[in-house]
Structures are given as C-alpha cells and as structure tokens.
C-alpha cells in the first residue's frame, strides 16, 4: 500500500531524474547541431523574374531539345503559365505550350484586370516531398542542392509525381521512369548555363551559386523582392520568384 506522501516523493524524484536525463540531452544536442557543418561547395539556386517573361516558350523548346523530353504537350521539365486575373473570382491559368503553333486568338481582355506569364520548373526543394515518398531511394538531393532521379533504380511507381506539390515531375514514356528538371546538371558541371537560361531572350531566368557572395543569384536576391511558391508547405524551394503576386500557385 502506497500512501500519498511516498507516491509524491517517488513521482518527484523520477521527474527530477528524467529531467536530468533530458537536460543532459539538451546540452548535447546543440553540440550535434554545431558539428553538422554546411558543405563548402556550391548550392545552386534559380531566379525567375516574372516581370520580364514574354511567354515565348523558347525555354520550353530548349529544355525539351537539350534533355530529350518528348515534344508532346504533356511532358515538361519546365513550362510557362499564363495568368489572367479577372475582376472577380479565381485567376485563369493556361499553359502556353511551345509558342510555335499558332495559338488560339489572343485571349479576350474583357473583364481581365491584369495578365502575366510565370515560368515554372522543379523547385529543387531543400526538403523535397518527392524524396521522402520514393520507396526505393531512387530520388535524392545532391550536395549542391539539386534533386536527381536515379533512373536505374526508379520503378516508375509515380509516388513522387503525386507527392510533388508543384507538379514538376512526369513519367518519361520511353524509360518509364520519373523525370524532372535537373537545372541541366550536365551543363552546370561543364560551366555552361542551363538550356532555358541560355536561350531566354529577356533574362527572366537566372541561375547561380547561393553560397557565393558574387553570383547572379546574389544580385537577384539583392535587387528583388523574393517570393517562393507555396511557402506554407515548408518545402524550402531553391527557385526564387521576383515580381509575382499571391495569385500564383
């Protein structure tokens, strides 16, 4: 039989003990944090200035050519959306495809307050949902911050395509594996610009090293007000947008 006094004594002493253990952990944990050093190499970041985009879709064509993406209007590593903000209601979003086919008549501006183009691509998230859901570990973040797909182990289950909140992935019809923008990893390793950045006629796209103090991205971040897509999801995108508004999803 335990009386109240001894019960309280035992409870308090066990609390004190566990508190000591917790305290010991807390003293250790920040040390672990310090021990984890940031990699000294590059960290690729991408800038999109929506004000400069003219919606010519040269980037889409260049990306498809460079990366063997099928030309059908269904497979994209990068694509351009036209936003039309009406007087009332939700923004109307259309994909402008390749620009080369004569498109439907220029859309009526009746009832439209504003309209602009937004280029989209893989956001190379710091915390990528696609990496978390891959059942075979085929998709991963490299040390320089690019999310890649190992097409040898990808089983084409489409989990990552479902998980990506930005719709940046597609299933490549020839390899039947997931495919996505890699910031043109093969070009970056040769000191070339990604194909879309190379051909953009208005410099709406910028790439650079986020760790460097002197890179186009540093200037982009200094000169613009920066926004990322769906910040509420805590994916921490490395594709930064300038001059877009909250309507952009």
């Amino acid at each position: 039989m335990m009386d109240r006094r001894s019960f309280l004594r035992k409870l308090l002493s066990s609390l004190a003990l566990s508190g000591g253990i917790l305290g010991g952990f807390l003293r250790v944990l920040p040390a672990w944090g310090q021990g984890k050093e940031e990699s000294a190499g590059k960290l690729w970041g991408f800038g999109v200035n929506a004000d400069k985009c003219i919606g010519c879709a040269r980037c889409v064509v260049a990306c498809k050519t460079e990366n063997n993406v099928p030309m059908e209007p269904f497979f994209y590593r990068t694509w351009v959306e036209r936003y039309m903000i009406p007087n009332e209601g939700e923004a109307i979003v259309t994909n402008i495809h390749m620009g080369l086919i004569p498109e439907e008549e220029a859309p009526s501006t009746k009832g439209i307050l504003r309209s602009f183009f937004v280029p989209k691509l893989c956001n190379q998230c710091e915390r990528p949902p696609c990496v978390q859901v891959c059942p075979v570990g085929a998709t991963f973040s490299t040390e320089d911050g690019v999310v890649l797909v190992n097409e040898k182990t990808c089983i084409g289950c489409r989990y990552c395509i479902q998980a990506c909140p930005y719709g940046a992935r597609y299933l490549h019809p020839e390899t039947s594996t997931a495919d996505k923008c890699t910031f043109c990893y093969h070009r970056l390793s040769r000191d070339l610009l990604p194909a879309c950045v190379e051909v953009c006629p208005t410099q709406a796209r910028v790439i650079g090293d986020l760790h460097s103090v002197a890179s186009p991205m540093t200037r982009f971040k200094r000169m613009n007000k920066i926004f990322v897509l769906k910040p509420n999801l805590n994916t921490e995108p490395k594709v930064l947008y300038a001059n877009i508004d909250g309507e952009v999803r």
Binding site: D51, K52, C53, I54, G55, C56, A57, R58, A62, T65, E66, R82, Y83, M84, N87, G99, L100, A106, P107, T109, G111, I112, S115, F116, F117, G137, F140, T142, L148, V149, N150, E151, K152, T153, T182, Y185, H186, R187, S189, R190, L192, L193, A195, E198, V199, C200, P201, T202, Q203
Partner: protein, 248 residues
Amino acid sequence: MKTPFSKLPEALVRLLIVFAVVIGMAIIIVKFVIPPRFKDTRIQWADTVARETAKPVRYAGAVACTECHDEIVAEKKKGYHRDLSCETCHGPAKAHTEAPDNIKPPAPRDRKFCPVCHTFNPSRPLGFPMINPVAHNPMKPCFTCHNPHDPKPSRTPRECSACHGEIARTLSVSHHVQLECTTCHNVPSRHRISPRIVKPTKPSSRDFCGKCHSKDSSYKGSPKIDLSSHGGKYVCWQCHYPHLPEAE
C-alpha cells in the same frame, strides 16, 4: 543432463534449427554475396551524379560563338538584341562547334519565327516591342526591313498606337475616342528616342479634367461633378481610367 531444449518437442527443435539455418543463410547472402553496389544508395547516387554529368550537351552556349563569329557578335552587342543568346534563334549548335563546315545551324527566315516573341499578346510586359503580324507588312519576311542582329524599327513611328496598341484599342471603344493623345499627355520629342527614360506627362491637377467634367464647365454632353465635394484629395485618374472611363 538438462539441455535447454529438452522440454520442447523434437519436431519444434527441428523447425527451430531450420529457421536458424534459413536466417543465417539470409544474413550471409545479404552481407557477403550481394555486392554493395546493389545495397548502398550512396554508391547508387554517386553513379547517378556521374551519369547525369556525362550526358551530352546540345546547346553550346553563347561564349562558344564569339570565338569565330566576332563580327556578328560585335554588331549584336550594340543593338536591342544584345542580351539574346545566338542559340535562341539559331537553335542548338553544339554539333556545329564540333564540325563547323558540315553542320550549319539554321537561320529562321520566314515570318513565323520573329512573331513568336513579337506578336501582340496582352500578357506580355508593357513596352515590349509587339506587332500584329496580320496587319504589319503582310507577306514580307521580317529581315527585309529589320536586321535581326541589330534590329531597329525602320523609322520611329509617328502614331502613338504603334507602341501603345493596347491603349489605342481600349480607347477606340470609349467615350474619349475623339480625344487626341496629346490632349491629355505632353509628349517630349525625346520620348521617341528613349521611350523609357523620357516619359509623357499625365494631368497633374483635378482642374484639367474639370475643364469638361466640372459642374460649372461650359462643355455640353459630358457627365458633370462638383469638384469641391467629389473625390477628395485624389487626382481624377487615380480612380477613373481615362482611356476607358467608367469601365465595367
């Protein structure tokens, strides 16, 4: 003698031995027989990075072009197309840099190509040079008037609508269609040469619109308001869009 399993039935002991052997073999196979390349994602990832890095390049990059085509590069540097990469128009040219004489990058010469960027589209940013390809010198290839490496309008257009097409179209259906642009805007002549540096003026006082719209104006046929009580501190165009007044 008491062995640990003596209390268990013999059949169960045999089953346990079979289990132990199977588990042991599984451990040996996983640990020693399967090569680490199949198990360790780090090795697979390093392979992937190597494979990605080795992929062939199609676009050579603008720097590659400067090595041979320095005249055109120098010409292009002066003009409005200075920030354009050569491959934006000429297409991927890595093959051309490797075999310059055999593979020539195409030069788009028909009227379909330039309008990809320069067709009027209301979503394009204001001030970007845009034309209506149906009305703009039909059938003529663009390069008969414009040099793509140093494009200039063949002459500076006199009419405002050449650049401000959207405003002109909006104005054409408004009550203000009879007004000249210069009625309200004072356009310095240098605006034609440096359109973004020297800008036309806008009416800066409420009295300007009041010339027609004030209660005591002599002009007939326009809606009248009391300037002293209407609109407070704002200039008229801060609320009303003068190119389409009282738009829906």
